[in-house]
């Protein structure tokens, strides 16, 4: 994997902001019998990727595939079982508290539910200001000026500063959360389903806002979502996860127009397209994702895959670069190259 990425870097020379290598995270399950062993869930099972400065990497997958856990691990909100996360040249999994505190400023998180992320008893203004207070940025007047500026940047009218979270609409609340995350000028923002709870008309506003802010402030996003339509719009590259592993990683257009992993194909064809004429083209896959406490041997997708054979049931496929900048973990990916793309329109 590393080698493959290195060759790419030479060609384009984008600056690597974060390197994630062989990240593993296990969760220990509940005790089922008094003397019995507790089962282990392999939530993240060797995830490696690079984040380039200024890009948006979309991380997609179904619930339980480990996309949110990955987001928490790279922000060091959770300790990995093994593996490393290198951010700005330092392995953040080994930092001590003080080093971590200064590093923390550079990375922020925006969650799905804004009302849950905001303090119901603090005014909007003081919540947006709080990060500045914590990190001791400037003096009191300076801080208020920054708050106002940020408030304008997320297109909220200044009179809302004195309001409380419940007095705002869902879209406004999410803007507040974004303002609070960006006010200390982080380099990396992890958006975990940040627009999923919003109605479409408002979702479009927030997506546009995120794109604008990225251009203006040079942000790097890790955009975690289950919604492939949003991810196509916002991401430069997309990584598809399945049961704790990345199974395919490529530029957004390439991945969606010419997917190589059968799971990616299934996922794309399952997305309902807002065009009634596109109906007949659907090919649904059977079954459901396997249980992480009891993962199948070989490729995790083998039970649902139309191309699965004996090799898939026994040997774990390597995550390899099949075409330029197109990584895939499937034994049969070669056979799928050039094979017509899933019919979308």
């Amino acid at each position: 994997m590393k080698k493959a990425i290195d060759t790419n870097t030479k060609a384009v020379k984008p600056e690597i902001l974060m390197e994630v290598r062989d990240l593993v995270r296990h969760f220990i399950g509940p005790r089922t019998s008094f003397f019995g062993k507790r089962k282990i869930a392999h939530a993240i099972n060797g995830v490696s990727f690079d984040l380039y400065a200024g890009e948006t990497l979309g991380l997609v997958g179904e619930s339980g595939c480990g996309k949110s856990t990955t987001g928490q691990l790279i922000l060091n909100l959770m300790e990995p079982t093994s593996g490393s996360v290198t951010f700005l040249g330092k392995d953040i999994t080994t930092l001590n508290k003080q080093e971590w505190r200064s590093m923390r400023r550079e990375m922020q998180l925006v969650f799905q539910n804004p009302l849950g992320a905001l303090n119901p008893r603090l005014t909007i203004g003081s919540q947006i200001r709080e990060p500045l207070d914590i990190h001791n940025v400037g003096d009191a007047d300076g801080r208020n000026a920054i708050v106002l500026e940020m408030f304008e940047a997320v297109s909220l009218p200044p009179h809302l500063l004195e309001r409380y979270p419940h007095q705002l609409s869902g879209g406004q609340q999410q803007r507040v959360v974004i303002a609070r995350a960006l006010i200390i000028s982080p380099k990396l923002v992890v958006c975990d389903e940040s627009v999923s709870a919003l109605d479409v008309s408002v979702q479009a506003q927030v997506v546009n806002l995120l794109v604008d802010l990225q251009k203006k402030l040079g942000l790097t996003y890790l955009f975690i979502t289950h919604d492939l339509s949003v991810v196509r719009h916002i991401s430069n590259r997309i990584a598809v996860m399945y049961l704790g592993r990345i199974v395919e990683l490529a530029d957004s257009e390439t991945l969606l127009e010419n997917p190589l992993h059968p799971y990616t194909r299934a996922l794309i064809s399952a997305v309902p397209v807002p065009d009634p004429r596109a109906r007949a083209s659907r090919a649904t896959i059977k079954g459901e994702p396997p249980n992480p406490f009891n993962p199948p041997s070989g490729c995790a997708f083998n039970a649902r895959c139309p191309h699965a054979d004996d090799k898939c049931r026994t040997v774990l496929p390597d995550f390899r670069e099949l075409a330029e900048k197109h990584m895939v973990a499937c034994h049969h990916a070669e056979a799928l190259v050039g094979n017509q793309k899933p019919n979308l329109s």
Binding site: E62, N208, V211, R232, H233, P272, D275, R279, A280
Partner: protein, 339 residues
Amino acid sequence: MSNATTSQSSEAQVATDTPLFEIRDLSVVFDTPDGTVQVVDSVDLKVSAGRTLGLVGESGSGKSVTCLAALGLLAARGRVTSGQVMFNGRDLLKISEEEMAKLRGCEVAMVFQDPMVSLNPVKTIGWQISESLCLHQGLSQGGAKKRAIELLDMVGIPNSKNRYGEYPHQFSGGMSQRAMIAMAIACQPKLLIADEPTTALDVTIQAQILELLSDLKKELDMALILITHDLGVIAEAADDVAVMYAGRVVEEAPVLELFDAPLHQYTLGLLSSLPRIDRTVERLSAIEGAAPPPQEFVTGCRFEARCGHCDDTCSGTRPPFTKISATRRVACMHPVKST
């Protein structure tokens, strides 16, 4: 969804035949500490046997409340202030609660968004399906069990004999939703109302459930009302569509016509604000502002504040729900001109 194309043709059913289920001029108010709030304002809907009506709108637009009110399922503070709900020639708002109870779960059934909340955690799945069979169809316990296992097979739950005795926590989200559907179709209802049935599910499972609903609809010749906020789901599964905004139906059309040529400015805005998986758009054209909460509903057009085409005629009086063709109606003073 392979043979869905056949059911798409809008001319298959002409609007003149009597619909199985028709809501006329339905208004619902809620009593709140701050006074009465009208959440549903003179809503008209209809659906015929074998058809799927997609009811689409943003959160708070009144789509769920409309259907709950029609089935007499409103919470204590909600009241129907006017209207008729015709089902098979009877007005459901006029019949007694006893008759209504006989009807619900039998001739009319409902499937809700979150299967994990709707299922009783301390009863087996099989028991919960058998319950309505014993109640409505008077089957014996043995007979109900046999039928329940058939139903589990019908909704695609593998190993149904063993699954019959399992509890909801042993079912995954998709499987629970299948069990809920099995329960809903247990008495072969004539009308099935599915309220956001796939919203809590992953896309691959959503595709399976939509396919299942459409197969069952054909098999049982049901009328289906599909409530959703997702225009993708509408495009996938509906025959006719009603678009709701701020407590009113603003547009009604067969699905192809709606997507080809939306008439209401809101529908157009909604369609163009969607991110698309099948094409790249430079920038999403968002609708400015947000939908008003029910306390701020006005008499005039409620989309006016967010609309780029409004003028003096839009405020003050409610835009009439004008018939454009045999199958299309729109409530807009300045409908989108077709190009």
